[in-house]
Symmetry: C2
């Protein structure tokens, strides 16, 4: 099992989290996404990571790789496999998280020192987080997946790990006030104790350095 | 089983195709997507169709509703359920179809009488169709799903049905030359014979009327 990845890519991190949670032996090949090697397009015509290679076969797209691994390596199951309705609900939640990460990218591209350019995306992130705060309250359990992290937990984590980059990149002008999301705040500290999460964890300072470099067109030395 | 739908919505058509293929009894409630009723947001906070309601439960997002129905009503299975790799491949194909439908929407919004504004999207559509033409050639079978239409066939069909709107909307300035895609051309005529496809079929002329109305902000009378 080989994973084509990139250290700072949140989508590739999704697959890495699933591989780690299931303790699937794998080797990681980091791809320079700025100057992609030609041979990589033979694996994935879209040239994107994550991309999984095994037995001469290739699959890509973060959610598809995660579902595949969950089906073929069911110990432990990350998506509740016995209840199709619960499975659908979890998939809907993962889709709804787009509200958080699409607005996070808008913020990265906005001028964070100009208040007008971040009001909209900030509202979107807070609206998105509210859905997850309420869902966690409703489920009355430690993780979205139950006593242990499940598919929802791992699929949203990469961007939750990146939320603390906002005060760094905006020079403390903006941060998500986690006291407004007490259950999510507790969830974040619980997730940080998970061994799969620890394996791919990168500090907010290093994420912020990468994002600054990437946006300025100069992520070299940070890519792999 | 109740489906909140809209007659001209390609995403809702995906769910309708699955319901029809599996002969699942259902009632359709068409939603006016321009002036959405308040009560609909209690079903789907995103206010989008398709949205399925059953036993006091609600699910939405076209691919999630399709997967749910496929799991709960497995006769016939639309996504190969015994081979996780084939299932992943089919899901990747469905994702890659984005290249066709995202560019179709770009064309709808472009000025179709100005050549420069359609060259890029047209190239994207042709590149996307080439992937499906080659895959069909490789699979050497009538439909992507085998002897009968499967998940890939139904999930891409709504936009394949809308491709012939292009010469109508561009006053014959542009059309996808299907002779460049002989297997797909055969597939289209086979799909048109499928009873599920027939149930939700709308003519290119009526699709074009709806799209013209929708883009001009006046789709009334065509919405439901």
């Amino acid at each position: 099992m080989r994973l084509y990845s990139m250290k700072f890519c949140p989508y590739a991190q999704r697959t890495r989290l699933v591989l780690a949670a299931k303790r699937i032996r794998n080797e990681v090949v980091n791809i320079n996404l700025v100057t992609k090697p030609d041979w990589f397009f033979y694996r994935n015509p879209l040239g994107k990571v994550p991309c999984l290679e095994f037995d001469g076969k290739v699959i890509f797209e973060s959610l598809i790789t995660a579902d595949y691994l969950d089906e073929v390596y069911p110990s432990p199951y990350l998506l509740n496999s016995t209840d199709p309705f619960r499975k659908a609900q979890d998939r809907i939640l993962i889709e709804m998280f787009n509200m958080v990460h699409s607005n996070l990218y808008k913020l990265y591209r906005a001028k964070l020192d100009v208040e007008d350019s971040w009001k909209g995306p900030i509202g979107g992130i807070q609206k998105g987080l509210t859905i997850f705060e309420e869902e966690l309250t409703k489920r009355e359990i430690k993780f979205f997946g139950g006593e242990n992290p499940g598919m929802v937990d791992y699929m949203i984590w990469p961007w939750m790990e990146r939320l603390p980059t906002l005060p760094i990149l905006s020079h403390e002008k903006f941060k998500v006030e986690m006291e407004n999301f007490p259950n999510l705040a507790k969830w974040i500290s619980d997730m940080k104790e998970d061994s799969a999460v620890k394996e791919s964890h990168i500090s907010p300072e290093n994420h912020a350095r990468f994002i600054t470099g990437f946006l300025s067109g100069n992520p070299d030395g940070l890519l792999c």
